[in-house]
């Protein structure tokens, strides 16, 4: 199954719509609730990141019996120092983002801890690509 979602930078009212739709699909597929939570928490954090930092982005979601792959590709300022961005508590979020309850420097580390595979690449001035993979057939604790 393939889904594609467009995300607009700054559009906080709609931030989370894509994650919400993926959650509904995974529920229909009878995926374990703990796995669904890992997938959608990671996806939602990443979706909020695009809204918070980029101008626009695309999310491609592929689901098969083995795994779910969520690929985020955005046009935006990019991340100059990824190891720094991965540190808990480091954030460049604007006051508007903080008012929405985000921008605490928890997003990327939390995505990584919910993902089985996590790849991030970024070009300053162009944008960021993030791939999150969660395996669906692994029993959850």
């Amino acid at each position: 199954m393939h889904f594609e979602y467009k995300v607009q930078g700054g559009d906080f009212a709609r931030a989370g719509l894509a994650s919400s739709q993926v959650k509904k699909v995974l529920k229909q597929l009878n995926v374990d609730a703990k796995l669904i939570k890992r997938v959608v928490v990671a996806m939602y954090e990443a979706e909020v990141n695009v809204v918070a930092h980029a101008y626009q982005g695309t999310i491609n979601v592929d689901i098969d019996t083995e795994r779910i792959v969520m690929a985020f590709s955005d046009h935006g300022p990019g991340i100059p120092d990824i190891p720094l961005a991965m540190q808990r508590g480091y954030s460049t979020a604007s006051p508007v983002v903080r008012e929405m309850g985000f921008g605490a420097g928890m997003g990327l580390p939390n995505i990584q801890s919910n993902a089985d595979e996590f790849k991030i690449t970024s070009v300053v001035g162009k944008g960021t690509n993030l791939e999150i993979i969660v395996y669906l057939n692994v029993p959850q604790e």
Binding site: S19, S20, K23, V41, M100, G101, F102
Partner: protein
């Protein structure tokens, strides 16, 4: 069962007001987490969690949706808006408005046996 509370008990203890989901007040919660920071809420693993927050916007409800949180208490007299109600109804969630401070509300629920997540 000790340590668990039904939402209608939560409302009684807090003298709070149900804004939506009044048909779901028999739902039990076991844990509570109090935060205005949704980034922190998204790191919580516990099930049967009640969210206590002063952040009254649609992202608080979205965060609850992603985290399988079925009830939110909005403290400090924050008001729930129509967009929040719509999203909560779509997801079978209970939204509660409470005039108390976060400290008072959390203290009252802790005294009743609701558990912290850490």
């Amino acid at each position: 069962m000790p340590g668990k509370m039904k939402l209608n008990q939560v409302i009684e203890v807090l003298q709070a007001k149900v804004v939506c989901g009044s048909e779901l007040l028999n739902t039990e919660v076991e844990f509570a987490f109090a935060s205005d920071l949704m980034s922190d809420v998204l790191t919580i693993q516990a099930d049967n969690l009640l969210l206590i927050t002063g952040l009254a916007n649609v992202q608080a409800v979205r965060t609850a949706e992603m985290s399988d949180i079925s009830a939110i208490v909005f403290v400090r007299n924050k008001k729930v808006n129509d967009d929040m109600i719509e999203l909560a109804e779509e997801n079978g969630m209970v939204l509660i408005e409470c005039a108390s401070s976060m400290f008072k509300a959390a203290g009252q629920l802790f005294a009743q046996g609701l558990k912290p997540v850490y």
